[in-house]
């Protein structure tokens, strides 16, 4: 009996064991590998994978100007050049409405350090890839040194002193204190100098070269020169920019059409953010600069989030160099109430007795608004205001859409020429083809630069137009600045004139009484203006104005500590209609806004960090 039980038990165990064995025979059943990612141990083993890591380092650099937040496309919106449409959030330090917890500080700290991490990773590890030739590795490492230097450059301008990490940070070791601003400058100089010393890195790629668009020595010279400008080491700065003039760069003859996808491979661009019309890889500048008549795939048009400020637009001189002053055209203009001035910008034909309802309503609308209709010239209003925009520095019309100028839209298949008129009574697909905006309730200057015309791009919201960061014109102006600061004003004039000579009809310096350079200070003023007129819209001016310490004077006003009502500030100060009324004004909360706050959360995480004063 007992034996029988034992036997039965044995048999049942056998059955269980067999069934277990049937299913559990596969010993590595629990070892799985992903097929859409690459293990860290494998990534340096083949050429293609290592190359993709280098591309990853570049990607983050492009991402600076792309990606998560359209409001951040252009640092010019932090300056007097333009303002952010009030419907959107962003640039809160410039608008005087944030504390150290502001997400923008967080965001920029994070994205610059990601760039630093990715480039350091290549610099420290690419030599592990034996499948890649030594010369290509050396070139890629030099490229990444430049990209890292670029990230540190941006960080140092924003914070003036950040922690220096030159290797990929290990988890838990992100506790370094801030280095001094000077130590960071030296780190940037070192990376740039290393890149310049690398024999495998060319000075320049031909526009036909498959590597066109990658980092070159010229980039490193440019950046190093900029740092020397910060350090007021004018001599070294001049020699770096001078070096660039020997490398075969030349100004693209057609200023306006340089900023087109078709011409983005040119000999003027030294370094640029590159975009394509592939899904998710386009530039957002078309979106923020473009208007509702700009072609987009969704049919709704672009958003004109960035509104050019009349303070800046009006700074463009006449083509012969004579300063522009609205009071000369309309005597008493600046003394008038801004709403009353609007009369000068109105379209022809408004009439309380007009047959057309639209013209009748438009007249009433402007009466209600407060325009001084006694100054209205029903048949000559447009011609009168157009004179304001005639015979000016031609770059003004190439960069901006001004009243009663036209823009070739793409919102309908016929790609009509739309005219910027006020009040708007138009239609996309019928005369009079008024230009439609996202801010149709008010009248603003609009961007032309980087805005696709007709249907030249696949989708205006994500356009394929590259954005230059370094172009030869900028190098020439910087060279002029470095020379002028050394007292070599006459030599500086030569380089500014190279830039001006490219623009048909624009008077060269020292060519007449208006362009007469009267000394180093006068030349300094002219150089700074030239930077703005030439480079506006390209996100360059914030960094330069900080260096000159003119940023707050221009953005808010020189009287910022004297007045309590922001409406009284004498700078560009807010989102402004062409005749001067403001949608909003900026608040002045203290000069500490010249530096970014160290992100509040980062201070709490890393007690070794210190905050910038005032935040």
């Amino acid at each position: 009996m007992e034996k029988k039980i034992l036997y039965r038990t044995y048999r049942s165990l056998m059955i269980a064991a067999t069934s277990v064995a049937l299913t559990a025979c596969n010993a590595d059943f629990l070892d799985t590998q992903p097929s859409d990612r690459v293990g860290t141990d494998l990534v340096w083993t083949t050429y293609n994978m290592a190359d993709a890591v280098v591309n990853g380092a570049y990607e983050r650099f492009y991402w600076e100007q792309q990606g998560e937040c359209p409001d951040w496309q252009n640092f010019d919106a932090a300056t007097d050049v333009c303002d952010l449409d009030a419907n959107w959030g962003g640039y809160d330090w410039a608008r005087g409405r944030c504390n150290a917890g502001y997400w923008g500080f967080n965001d920029w700290w994070k994205r610059l350090y990601e760039e630093i991490y990715r480039t350091s990773n290549v610099i420290c590890n690419l030599d592990r890839c034996e499948a890649m030739s030594a010369s290509e590795r050396a070139r890629d490492i030099a490229e990444c040194k430049f990209l890292r230097a670029w990230a540190y450059y941006r960080a140092n301008v924003l914070w003036r002193g950040v922690p220096i990490y030159t290797e990929p940070v290990e988890y838990g070791e992100d506790t370094k204190p801030r280095n001094t601003a000077d130590e960071v400058w030296q780190q940037i100089l070192k990376d740039c100098s290393d890149a310049i010393a690398e024999p495998n890195l060319p000075n320049k790629y031909a526009t036909s070269d498959k590597n066109y668009g990658r980092v070159t020595k010229a980039c490193a010279y440019y950046l190093r020169g900029q740092v020397y400008l910060w350090l007021k080491d004018w001599d070294k700065a001049a020699s770096d920019f001078m070096a660039i003039t020997t490398m075969g760069f030349e100004l693209f003859p057609d200023y306006k059409n340089m900023f087109k996808a078709a011409n983005e491979r040119n000999d003027e661009y030294i370094f640029q953010y590159q975009y394509t019309d592939d899904e998710g890889m386009g530039s957002l500048l078309g979106r923020t600069h473009g208007n509702r008549n700009t072609y987009t795939a969704d049919g709704f048009g672009c958003w004109n989030n960035l509104i050019p400020n009349p303070y800046f637009v009006d700074s463009y001189e006449y083509a012969d160099g004579r300063p522009f002053n609205m009071d000369e055209v309309f005597p008493g203009y600046s003394a008038m109430d801004p709403k009353a001035r609007s009369v000068y910008f109105l379209r022809d034909g408004l009439d309380p007795n007009a047959a057309s309802d639209k013209l009748k309503n438009g007249y009433q609308q402007m009466v209600t608004y407060g325009a001084d209709m006694s100054q209205y010239d029903k048949d000559g209003n447009e011609a009168r205001i157009l004179k304001v925009y005639q015979n000016r520095d031609p770059r003004m019309l190439m960069n901006f859409i001004t009243p009663y100028s036209t823009y070739k839209g793409g919102s309908t298949a016929d790609c009509w020429d739309y005219t910027l008129r006020w009040p708007y009574i138009g239609s996309d697909n019928a005369a009079p083809y008024d230009l439609r905006t996202d801010t149709n309730d008010r009248f603003y200057y609009l961007w032309r630069k980087f805005v696709p015309e007709g249907r030249e791009t696949k989708n205006g919201l994500n356009s394929d137009i590259d954005t230059p960061i370094f172009r030869y014109a900028g190098a020439l102006i910087a060279l002029a600045e470095a020379l002028n600061e050394q007292g070599k004003t006459d030599e500086a004039v030569k380089y500014i004139n190279m830039v001006r000579a490219r623009i048909p009809g624009l008077a060269l310096l020292n060519s007449n009484e208006y362009t007469k350079v009267t000394g180093q200070d006068n030349m300094r003023e002219r150089i700074r203006n030239e930077y703005g007129w030439e480079l506006c819209g390209e996100g360059q001016l914030y960094w330069k104005q900080l260096r000159w310490d003119t940023w707050l004077d221009r953005k808010l006003g020189t009287n910022r500590t004297l007045v309590s009502d922001p409406a009284q500030l004498n700078g560009a100060n807010g989102m402004t209609e062409i005749w001067g009324t403001k949608r909003y004004t900026n608040n002045y909360i203290g000069d500490h806004v010249k530096l970014f706050a160290v992100p509040q959360g980062e201070l709490e995480r890393n007690p070794n960090l210190t905050q910038n004063p005032g935040w």
Binding site: S19, T23, T32, E114, Q274, D278, N459
Partner: protein, 1104 residues
């Protein structure tokens, strides 16, 4: 139903062995009662067993006491039994019914009553079933067949709401097929997936994938003892779903059908009068010192047209079209009729039981192109091949067709971006903005909903299981089950041309998109999972009093998941949308992922005399998600029960009032691995970037590695008491639990120095959930009225016990710098999150927001010096005195952030200011947020159900609610006073908001008492700039989830329709919500989205 099923199974089995022969029956029938002599040694007795409705009971065991004589009732409830002595006592037993003992008599009619104290109820537990009285774990079972028979529920989660203590279910949306229920058992114990494991007939599924009509019963396993057998995913509790099976010998066909009228339960409407809207936007502009946006001429145009809506405008369209005043919610939401039809066929043929269920559901939702049509089939077959071999298989599948439009944007900016001055649709055209002063980006929501081309979601989900079960050596059962689960989703999205038209101006507002810009994309997603389970059971009773059961098992499986995503552009015509016909490729994407697991598990039960109950479980789990060295987890549990009511001392004391009184206790450990499939590995993400002007591959490091990650574990202690008293009329269950989760797999917030990288996954955090649950049930009958009341409630306290160290803040609190003038906070280091934070000592994701200032309203102290505590009482600047105080405060060195300036476009009349909680003279500074003691998970949830039946009329109600939770809600167009050009304004804010013009205090719009801030064209304004207590809403609610009235026709009438049973009913779902939350539905914990439905339905249940 469950108990009936078991009973009929047992009965059927006995019928086979003990059914009387025809001859015996004839003999018994032929004997006249009076002719039976008392001296006869043997005699036969016959009779009939019925239930209290007079219906025959099939399969009742009839036994002569003290002998082995037994019989089973047949299809008509009849039995015949040969007796060994003349005055025999017969006992009648039937599972689910109270035993009856009666003296034998001829033609006896025995009425058996249903056992309402449910002592004999059978409950499905892990890998088996158990009698409820013998349970030592914490398990609740819900009779779903009853719920789904009367309610227009389309998902199981909806039917389960409020039905079980400790089960917290909140509905996230009203969108058909995407209701987004959150299901938690006993609080949220982890930052990872905290939803319970759902097993449908042993196969892992999502609750939303199960057709409610197929379900027989649901068991909710709550404590470690009952879940430990599912160690690897049991930490969040387990929901076991059992589908319907074939029942008794007769083929039974039943039909259930219903029609429901769907309406939104609540809407937060936009302003619908355009002239009013324009005036209000102008008010918002003037409030902040800028010029109004809309010219009076345009406002007047609308006013004039409104006075003569049917007049013909200059463009030739009627005024109401050309100068529209559209109430968008009237257009978006429509009353629609949902219908559902289910047929089930079940029965048993000698050795084989079968069940076939077919269900068709057409739920159109309430919004155009947002509905779902669903087809479900369930086929189950179980065959007793021999007396030792049982085999079976089940095929279960569902196919869902959903139309697709932009309705998910209902809660987004895109949808809010509309104004009342757009006409929805007229004369074949969608309206656009009617005046050029309007924001060109203002949409027509009806165009967003209708404008897309051919677009849909289609999913097909099928699973099959097959099993074989062998009984051997009397006490052993071996069962092997194989399950395969296949899911396939096919999504299509096609752009539309989206032309909009201005009726007043007679022209196109936005032109149709060019054909070359139109795209179409297809997304394919599929997963396929298989699982093998082998179990060996052994049951034995020693010496009649020692019941021992043991189970050992093995399980392994693999889950695989992949998708393909393809997009092309350029159409020949907007109606030709197949990928073949499009001209340019946009992208082709796809990826694949999967994981494997393997487990051994076991259970041992011991019961002494049904009085002392002990159970032990273990599970040993391996997961591919962890590295080989950290892969295996061991999860044991033990539990014990003491049926006090079975003790002699209890039977002889006051405790005898209890029919059942049981004390239970359990303790055990469970695991969770619901993290990324390749959690421990470090990898580079792949993708593309632009390089040298071309799209090129790029890699970047995202996840920092941690080889040491392993299982997170949850240890639960549970003590409970079950009782039944007053002859089974009152029963109750109490449970106290203490659930400690440790080693929670988490990626903490990482320093910004690491850029986009995420922190290594770590076994980092600990969370504690402690709580109390109670359930009471009263069932009784008064005269012809049967009625019952059930109440359940649960309280849960959630705390983060372990994260990254204690939160320290305060003046001089810096451990390295005792300077009392320096304010220190380590919040960024020890916590993560923003408005909802994770930090030790607080509940998970507790709200952390800026309190609104509140002051005494006295402004200055006795010396006339400005008093920081003397500001406005509720924090809003309402009067000139308030404003002067604010200005004086600024002059005295205080500052109000983040708007900073006391000017019309910053801090001004009708704006709230924030409190300075840390006393640094900065109001709304970096350290002024406070923990609010609430998260968006309820602390207290409760439900109560009432039912009554009287002569075929039945009535039931289901109430449920939750308290102690909040949501942060601030949305333009919904509950904010901030105005953005081209965006809608909520009507209720338009009707009630602060207004004061210091230059014209007598303005008729003046309202200085409103709680809502002034209208402001700033986004955000001062009041909305920081996440603050004003926008933190309590979500406490009480809902009448369902009310049903039904009538079952008397049998004699229903039989005229050849029906065994015929019931009609009326049912209302989501009829009443009591809450202070101003948004759509407190359960959604969001103010906007697809509104939940109120349904009125009429239905029919027929069984043939």
């Amino acid at each position: 139903m469950e108990k009936r099923f078991i009973a009929s199974l047992a009965g059927a089995a006995l019928l086979m062995v003990a059914s009387p022969t025809q001859a015996e029956r004839k003999l018994a029938m032929s004997v006249h009662p009076n002719a039976v002599s008392a001296t006869q040694q043997q005699r036969a007795v016959s009779g009939k067993v019925v239930d209290d409705q007079g219906e025959p009971l099939i399969g009742v065991t009839v036994k002569e006491q003290g002998t082995k004589n037994a019989a089973v009732t047949d299809m008509d409830g009849r039995f015949t039994l040969s007796l060994s002595k003349s005055d025999a006592q017969l006992t009648f037993t039937y599972i689910g019914y109270i035993d009856v003992t009666s003296r034998a008599a001829d033609n006896m009619v025995i009425t058996m009553k249903e056992d309402r104290n449910e002592l004999n109820e059978i409950v499905v537990v892990g890998y088996g079933t158990q009698k409820k009285v013998n349970l030592t774990g914490s398990v609740v079972s819900v009779d779903m067949a009853k719920e789904t028979n009367s309610r227009p529920v389309t998902t199981v989660a909806q039917a389960l709401q409020g039905m079980a203590a400790g089960l917290d279910i909140l509905q996230g949306s009203g969108k058909p097929g995407a209701e987004n229920f959150s299901v938690n058992i006993r609080g949220v114990g982890t930052m990872n997936d905290a939803s319970p494991l759902v097993l449908v007939d042993g196969m892992e599924m999502s609750l939303s994938d199960v057709n409610p009509m197929d379900i027989e019963s649901i068991s909710v396993l709550k404590d470690a003892a009952s879940c430990a057998i599912y160690g690897n995913r049991g930490a969040n509790g387990v929901i076991l779903v059992t589908t319907k099976s074939g029942t008794d010998g007769k083929v039974s066909v039943s039909y259930t059908g219903r029609l429901s009228v769907n309406k939104p339960s609540k809407l937060v409407r936009f302003m619908s009068n355009y002239a009013d809207y324009m005036e209000l936007v102008n008010e918002a502009s003037e409030n902040i010192g800028t010029a109004g946006k809309y010219p009076q001429t345009v406002i007047d145009q609308w006013r004039q047209a409104e006075a003569n809506p049917n007049g013909i405008s200059e463009s030739g369209y009627p005024n109401y079209v050309a100068y529209p005043n559209t109430d968008w919610y009237d257009e978006i939401y429509q009353t629609k009729v949902m219908q559902e039809h289910a047929i089930s066929l079940s029965g048993k043929d000698t050795r084989t039981r079968y069940n076939l269920g077919l269900t068709y559901l057409d739920n159109p939702g309430m919004i155009v192109r947002s509905g779902e049509q669903k087809y479900s089939v369930n086929l189950k077959l179980i065959s007793d091949v021999t007396d030792w071999l049982q085999m079976g298989a089940q095929v279960w599948g569902t196919h869902s067709d959903r139309d697709r439009n932009n309705v998910d944007a209902l809660s987004s900016w895109e949808f809010l971006k509309t104004v009342p001055g757009i006409y929805p649709y007229y004369d074949g055209k969608f309206g656009g903005i009617e005046t050029s002063v309007e924001d060109g980006a203002a949409h027509n929501p009806m165009l967003l909903l209708n404008g897309d081309g051919d677009s849909y979601y289609k999913t097909t989900h099928a699973y099959t299981t097959a099993f074989a079960q062998i009984k051997f050596l009397k006490d052993f059962t071996f069962k092997s089950t194989f399950g395969y689960d296949y899911y396939n989703a096919r999504h299509k999205y096609t752009d539309g041309q989206n032309e909009s038209y201005s009726f007043s101006r007679g022209e196109v507002v936005s032109s149709p998109a060019a054909l070359e810009a139109l795209s179409s994309y297809m997304y394919y997603h599929h997963y396929y999972n298989w699982k093998v389970t082998n179990t060996l059971n052994w049951n034995h009773t020693f010496a009649q009093k020692h019941d021992v059961a043991a189970l050992v098992g093995f399980e392994e499986g693999k889950n695989s998941d992949g998708n393909t995503d393809v997009k092309k552009m350029g159409m020949i015509d907007a109606t030709i949308t197949d990928l073949n016909t499009l001209t340019s490729e946009e992208y082709i994407r796809g990826n694949f992922t999967g994981y494997t697991y393997r487990s051994w598990f076991g259970r041992l039960n011991y019961a002494y005399d049904s009085k002392y109950l002990v159970e032990a479980n273990f599970r040993y789990d391996g997961s591919s998600r962890f590295s080989p060295d950290n892969r295996w987890g061991f999860f044991p549990s033990a539990s014990a029960g003491w049926r006090i009511s079975e003790e002699n001392f209890a039977k002889n004391s006051f405790l005898s009032v209890f029919d059942n009184l049981k004390l239970r206790a359990s303790y055990g450990k469970l695991g969770n691995s619901s993290v990324d499939n390749y959690a421990y590995q470090s990898w580079y993400e792949t993708g593309y970037t632009t390089m040298a002007g071309k799209k090129s591959p790029r890699f970047y490091l995202k996840n920092l590695p941690n080889m040491n990650v392993t299982w997170e574990t949850t240890k639960t202690f549970n003590i409970g008491l079950d009782f039944t008293t007053l002859n089974g009329r009152l029963s109750g269950v109490f449970d106290y639990y203490d659930k400690q989760t440790s080693g929670i797999l988490y990626r903490p917030t990482i320093g910004l120095i690491f850029g986009d990288k995420v922190a290594p996954l770590q076994n980092l955090a600990g969370v504690s959930n402690r709580g109390f649950e109670a359930t009471f049930r009263w069932e009784d009958k008064i005269g012809d009225v049967t009625y019952g009341v059930a109440v359940n409630g649960s309280f849960n306290k959630n705390r983060v016990t372990d994260y990254k160290g204690a939160f320290i803040s305060g003046w001089g609190a810096d451990p390295n710098n005792p300077d009392p003038n320096v304010y220190y906070s380590n919040l960024g280091e020890v916590s993560s999150g923003g408005t909802q934070r994770l930090v030790e000592g607080h509940m998970m994701n507790e709200f952390y927001v800026y309190p609104i200032y509140n002051g005494t309203g006295t402004y200055y102290d006795a010396n006339g010096v400005v008093d920081p505590n003397g500001g406005p009482r509720d924090g809003m600047i309402r009067t000139p005195e308030d404003l002067k105080w604010a200005q004086d405060m600024v002059a005295a060195g205080y500052s109000f952030e983040p708007q900073h300036a006391v000017t019309p476009n910053a801090i001004w009349y009708g704006e709230y200011i924030y409190a300075d909680t840390n006393g640094d003279k900065v109001y709304g500074g970096s350290h002024d947020q406070k923990f609010m003691g609430e998260s968006n998970v309820p602390k207290f949830t409760f439900g109560f159900q009432v039912h009554a039946e009287w002569k075929g009329i039945d009535f039931s109600m289901n109430w449920g609610g939750a308290t102690g939770f909040s949501t942060y809600w601030r949305e333009i167009g919904q509950n904010s006073s901030n105005v953005v050009f081209g965006l809608s304004i909520p009507q209720w804010i338009a009707d009630d908001h602060y207004f004061y013009d210091p230059n014209n205090p007598n303005d008729p719009r003046t309202n200085i008492t409103s709680k809502n801030p002034r209208m402001s064209l700033e986004n955000p304004s001062m009041s909305d700039a920081l996440d603050n207590t004003f926008h933190l809403y309590s979500c406490d609610y009480l809902k009448l989830r369902n009310l049903t009235i039904g009538y079952t026709l008397p049998k004699n009438i229903s039989r005229k329709f050849y029906a065994e049973n015929l019931r009609v009913y009326f049912s209302g779902e989501n009829l009443l919500t009591i809450t202070s939350f101003p948004g759509l539905d407190p359960e959604m914990r969001s103010g906007e989205g697809y509104a939940t439905m109120r349904q009125l339905s009429f239905g029919l249940n027929v069984t043939f």
